[in-house]
């Protein structure tokens, strides 16, 4: 059994680990180590050396992201992105509810490194149990001197608050999240300036995903070489990997990066339910390209999944079986993105509803062959570089790849003027 630093303490029933249990398992030793003798620069170097990459979807190297934060001005902010709204994604919830002190410790380490004075945990509005557990953990951490003025007798002070979102997918985009945290509509901001220099209220800010931050206590306590050794590939660490869809045993597991899709789907998730076969894999949340059975032996890490035309994304995969209609599934995904477009830029605001209506017509048996050319065109026009932020390009990932892999299913809908699955 490989090491599971993120989830080893989590109980089978998911009931939260208390402060004393967390401490007994070695918790807060990384904070003691960092604040007791490492400079912020030392911590930054360790995180850079570990090669830790963002676990929220984009996979940007965390240490590099931090290195752009200037000395001044203050206050500086650390913001935890716990707005887990990517359809098919259910990983951060497990950490927030099951081991909230792991996140608090990760927040302290990140905040110390960038010199943050205040940190916010931004949670999606429906995660009420996560809110309860995080607030309880934060209260406990204040009482033991891990938060507040002069943490553990050091010169360093940090305030930590929880903010509940009003609910909108775009708030997972870091600049939209900052606007939401300022009490505004969650429209993304122009970059540059990047949040590192001008973020929350124009102050230097870092936005990191929950799982990313939860990796820090292990990295600081045990070092970068240990972290790299957790993985089967050049990308260091473990990853929370989930499976939903019609498998025998849907769930979430902490696995070494580099595990293959086959091991996850047919090992951990028990394979497809009886009578069903696998047709499509959306590897890491709704905004990643479909893969198929031919990709089962691909190793799950950032570069390898990218090489075959998709993304590791959030690492929580959605499986399409042979009795699920690809057109219906893609229509469901595009309906989500069309609803969640913030409306700021024209291609996204107008293009996604157009794609949705076209897909709906095809699914209902009212499509014409020319609709496929319209969809092909939209995949280009809403693709990378054509829109203000990554929402529409993310939406085009399953549509573009779906048109590639399941084109005969689209054509059959149009030829037969019905959904063959109904």
């Amino acid at each position: 059994m490989s090491e599971r630093p993120l989830t080893e303490r989590i109980r089978p029933d998911g009931a939260p680990i208390t402060l004393s249990e967390y401490e007994a398992a070695g918790g807060y030793q990384a904070v003691r180590k960092a604040l007791g003798g490492m400079s912020p620069k030392d911590v930054l170097q360790v995180v850079k050396d570990s090669g830790l990459r963002g676990r929220g979807g984009a996979g940007f190297p965390t240490g590099v992201k931090w290195s752009f934060v200037p000395e001044n001005p203050h206050p500086k902010y650390l913001v935890v992105n716990g707005d887990e709204m990517e359809p098919g994604t259910f990983k951060d919830r497990v950490l927030l509810e099951g081991d909230p002190h792991l996140l608090v410790e990760g927040v302290i380490l990140a905040s110390y490194t960038i010199g943050a004075d205040v940190a916010f945990v931004f949670l999606r509005g429906e995660y009420l149990e996560s809110e309860r557990q995080m607030k309880k953990a934060i209260t406990e951490a204040y009482a033991k001197g891990y938060l507040g003025k002069n943490i553990l007798g050091s010169e360093y002070s940090l305030e930590l608050y929880v903010h509940m979102s009003g609910g909108r997918y775009i708030c997972g985009e870091e600049t939209a999240l900052l606007n939401a945290l300022e009490g505004k509509r969650g429209n993304p901001r122009t970059k540059p300036p990047f949040p590192q220099t001008s973020g929350l209220w124009g102050k230097p800010s870092i936005v990191n995903n929950v799982e990313t931050l939860c990796n820090l206590p292990g990295i600081i306590a045990k070092g970068p070489e240990w972290f790299k050794g957790l993985s089967k590939t050049a990308n260091g660490g473990t990853k929370l990997i989930g499976v939903s869809g019609k498998v025998k045993n849907p769930g979430l597991w902490e696995l070494p990066l580099g595990v293959t899709f086959r091991e996850v789907i047919f090992g951990h998730a028990g394979g497809m339910r009886d009578g069903l076969s696998l047709r499509g894999i959306i590897p890491g949340g709704a905004s990643t390209d479909y893969l198929t059975e031919e990709h089962l032996d691909v190793e799950m890490d950032y570069e390898t999944v990218a090489k075959v035309g998709s993304r590791l994304g959030t690492g929580t995969m959605i499986l399409m079986d042979n009795k699920t209609c690809p057109v219906g599934m893609i229509h469901n995904l595009i309906t989500f993105f069309a609803h969640e477009s913030c409306g700021w830029c024209t291609p996204c605001r107008e293009g996604l509803p157009w794609a949705e209506k076209t897909l709906r017509a095809i699914e209902r048996g009212e499509g014409v062959m020319e609709d496929l050319a319209v969809l092909d065109r939209l995949v280009v026009d809403l693709g990378p570089g054509m829109t203000f932020c990554a929402l529409a390009p993310g939406a085009m990932a399953p549509l573009g790849s779906g048109l590639k892999y399941f084109r005969e299913d689209f054509e059959r809908h149009i030829r037969e003027q019905r959904c063959p699955w109904k």
């Binding site: 206050p75 887990e84 709204m85 990517e86 359809p87 098919g88 994604t89 259910f90 951060d92 919830r93 205040v118 999606r124 509005g125 429906e126 995660y127 009420l128 149990e129 305030e159 608050y161 903010h163 509940m164 979102s165 009003g166 609910g167 909108r168 997918y169 939401a180 945290l181 300022e182 009490g183 505004k184 509509r185 969650g186 929350l200 209220w201 102050k203 989930g242 499976v243 939903s244 869809g245 019609k246 849907p250 769930g251 979430l252 959306i282 709704a286 929580t316 959605i318 499986l319 399409m320 079986d321 699920t324 219906g328 599934m329 469901n332 995904l333 989500f336 609803h339 969640e340 913030c342």
Partner: protein, 154 residues
């Protein structure tokens, strides 16, 4: 009018932000938690408390999925219709709820007991299909289980 308690709670939320308007979403959530939804008067009251215009507060309120600007029933059902739940049969649950309650999505039963709303992915994909009733998450559902669950909300 907002009660003293509500104003106090909004002030408490606002204290952590560099600017008071940072607490706009918190304020909307605070009011909705007590009243079920946010009416026009509350929008004006929140604006006054946070030093914003009512239009600014309303533009924020209407942006977010979870802020309700129309009256709702005693219990709000938020059914997940996103991809994993869809694969696992959420359409069947939507049909069951619409038939049983006699309402469409976005509507409230005549007796004021339930409002039925479509929700984006609830992050319970390994236990799909799922829905929330008020603050409670219910998972691994089928119409039979749902029938028993509905009975708990009178």
């Amino acid at each position: 009018m907002l009660t003293e308690d509500l104003i106090h709670e909004i002030d408490h939320e606002a204290a952590v932000f560099e600017q008071r308007r940072g607490a706009c979403i918190d304020a909307l959530r605070v009011v909705q938690r007590q009243r079920g939804w946010v009416d026009d008067e509350s929008i004006q009251d929140i604006a006054a408390v946070l030093g914003m215009t009512a239009d600014e507060v309303d533009s924020v309120a209407t942006f977010y999925n979870l802020i309700l600007r129309r009256p709702v029933g005693r219990h709000v059902i938020r059914i997940c219709t996103s991809v994993s739940c869809w694969i696992m049969g959420s359409e069947m649950l939507v049909e069951y709820l619409q038939r049983t309650l006699g309402i469409g999505l976005g509507e409230t039963t005549k007796d004021g007991r339930f409002t039925l709303i479509q929700n984006q992915c609830l992050g319970a994909c390994d236990h799909a299909p799922a829905l929330m009733i008020d603050d409670d998450l219910h998972r691994d559902l089928d119409p039979g289980k749902l029938e028993k669950i509905l009975a708990q909300y009178q």
